[in-house]
């Protein structure tokens, strides 16, 4: 079986080497995702290897991916946003109240939620910039503020239901699409947000300034970066992503006061698995998305293996540590 390789001339060997060099440049998150997903497809081809199954998987993982994109912006800038989980709770609770079971109010409600997200992001950014409070603390305070505010607003318990047209974003599919079969709305939303944020992060002056500021604030300021402006915009983008993610999560999760709890940590973990550097300077939209996909795939793999929920938490903990330890190891080896 190795005869071909042994007979092959030096030229082929060189080509193989350069391919290998190219493969090694692929961020580890893609390899990890492929491994986990192939395992899924192998264990249950019906659920994961069909186009229907893939679409369902994408529907389930898109909300976390949207949250991860927003969080990635803030992490790359060198900050943290711990308030996103509370924002998801806010969206679900406040929407159920505002909708009042009237489908006609679905779009205005989402509009109001986006407005609130804008306000919250603005506050986060302004407080960090002008009161100089570390973002970890600002967004921790905002997490309490928004969660308490949402619960106070609805009176502590969910009111009413989310209308079907509101829930469609997280739950429904466009049916009878050629080749693909059906496409979830959530995936389309993710793709639109990816396009916008990819452009912003990777193709504009703004995006490069996020990385520059995350890497060295002082040097960036002396080079003319409008740090306050960049920071405020970045926190707003993160909050808006959290609101949109909240609509998608509420779509299939329904009304539940604890729906957003712990999401901020999950999202940060997804970003870190996607190679984002905590405290700033490195980040990428596609890698963050695949970080989220990987986390979701892991959860599904653990489900498939029949592990009860608590063990899934534990295994996730191990995976997060291992992923970061591996990337720390590979950077050290490079130096």
């Amino acid at each position: 079986m190795t005869t071909t390789a042994m007979k092959s001339p030096a030229g082929t060997n060189k080509a193989l080497q350069s391919i290998w060099a190219w493969i090694r440049k692929i961020p580890p998150v893609y390899v990890l995702f492929l491994v986990v997903y192939i395992a899924l497809a192998y264990l249950n081809p019906n659920l994961f290897a069909t186009s229907n199954g893939i679409m369902t998987f994408l529907r389930r993982s898109s909300p976390l991916a949207v949250l991860a994109i927003g969080e990635m912006f803030v992490l790359a800038l060198g900050g943290f946003d711990l308030s996103i989980g509370s924002l998801v709770t806010l969206v679900v609770l406040a929407s159920s109240l505002l909708l009042n079971n009237d489908p006609a109010k679905a779009y205005p409600t989402i509009g109001i939620m986006l407005g609130l997200g804008l306000l919250i992001g603005l506050t986060n950014g302004l407080v960090v910039s002008y009161l100089k409070v570390p973002s970890f603390i600002v967004t921790l305070g905002m997490m309490l503020l928004v969660r308490g505010g949402a619960l106070y607003w609805v009176g502590g318990a969910p009111r009413g239901y989310l209308t079907d047209n509101w829930r469609a974003f997280g739950r429904n599919y466009i049916e009878h699409v050629p080749v693909l079969g059906r496409v979830p709305y959530a995936l389309i939303i993710l793709l639109v947000i990816t396009a916008i944020t990819y452009f912003l992060f990777h193709r504009t002056n703004y995006g490069r300034q996020i990385l520059a500021i995350g890497d060295n604030v002082r040097a960036s300021r002396l080079s003319g970066s409008r740090i306050e402006l960049v920071r405020v915009v970045t926190f707003v983008i993160c909050s808006l992503c959290a609101i949109i993610g909240g609509v998608m999560i509420g779509g299939y999760g329904g009304v539940n006061v604890t729906i957003g709890q712990g999401l901020e940590m999950q999202t940060i973990a997804a970003c870190v698995v996607g190679g984002v550097m905590l405290l700033g300077g490195k980040g990428s939209v596609p890698n963050a998305i695949f970080g989220a996909f990987t986390m979701q795939a892991l959860v599904e793999l653990l489900n498939l293996l029949g592990l009860p929920k608590p063990y899934k938490d534990a295994v996730q903990g191990i995976i997060i540590i291992a992923a970061v330890a591996y990337s720390a190891y590979s950077t050290r080896r490079k130096r």
Binding site: G79, L131, G148, P308, P310, G317
Partner: protein, 331 residues
Amino acid sequence: MTTTTVSDNRFSRGLRGFRIPPVFVFLIIVFLVGGVLDQLFSDGQIFTNPAIMLNIIVRSVALGIVAVGQTLVILGASIDLSVAYTISITAVMSSYIMQGDPTKVPLALLGVFGIGAAIGLVNGLVITKLHVNSFIATLGTSLIIAGIINATFSNYTGSVPREFEYFGYGTIGPVPVSIIVLAVMFIGGWLLLSRTKFGSHLYGVGGNAEVSRLSGLRTDRVLIGAHVLCSLTAVLAGVFLVSQMRSGAPWVGPNGVYDLNSIAVTVIGGTALSGGKGGVWGTLAGVLIFGVLDTVFNQLGVNPYLKIVLQGAIVVLAVASYTFRSKEEPA
């Protein structure tokens, strides 16, 4: 001009170790404003009833104990997000082992402190040897502990013997045992930081790890030590909570948000998240601010959800009160 600084006397040196952090001013303001509001809108007990004052401190004991540990790791430029579930595992394990039997108390304590030391050791080793960012490392261990206890224990497991409740409810003279424990923890933390080699080295590692390494410190050991101590304080907090609850439940840690709250009070107290700067007295002020707020809100009968909102706002304002004039770039 330099002669005065050279001739330091014992008194001024003692004061230097005991520098009063500005956050105490904030604490006094919160207390006075709360008290006045209480006078105006409620029965005014905050100013008149010493039992309420005592109660403020008693309510702060669990958070205070774990905040001492959190201060240590943050001074070392690290962070510990696993304290909440460490508290939980302590609560359930100790009441599970005791099962109401007083003779099993030593075994249970040995067990939970052993578990705590192991958690701290794992945190420290993962951070120093595998070079995993402390935020992620302790988030990971937190998930692992959560998984294990949620899978193993349901609500309220076992119980603690009556004698054990002494820790939570007993008094020595008029002073609750818990307050004495809290005081011992803070004084111990202060002595550890200001008077021992370990404390000096911890400031070094947090201030500049490379400098410390070149000065011959075994920086990894110092940081691992801080993590072990932090986990042990979480265990002590868990033991205190279970002695009050009489039976351990897995939700006790996360419900009290001890992870984020302990970080919040530490930062409110002026300890920098970047490490190497701060101390336990500021943290004490932070803890008491939380305690005062809690009591004031209860006195005024503030809606519990509104309470959360106000708490969030005050955390940010407290930190802002001394950062807003800073010339350093925030992160």
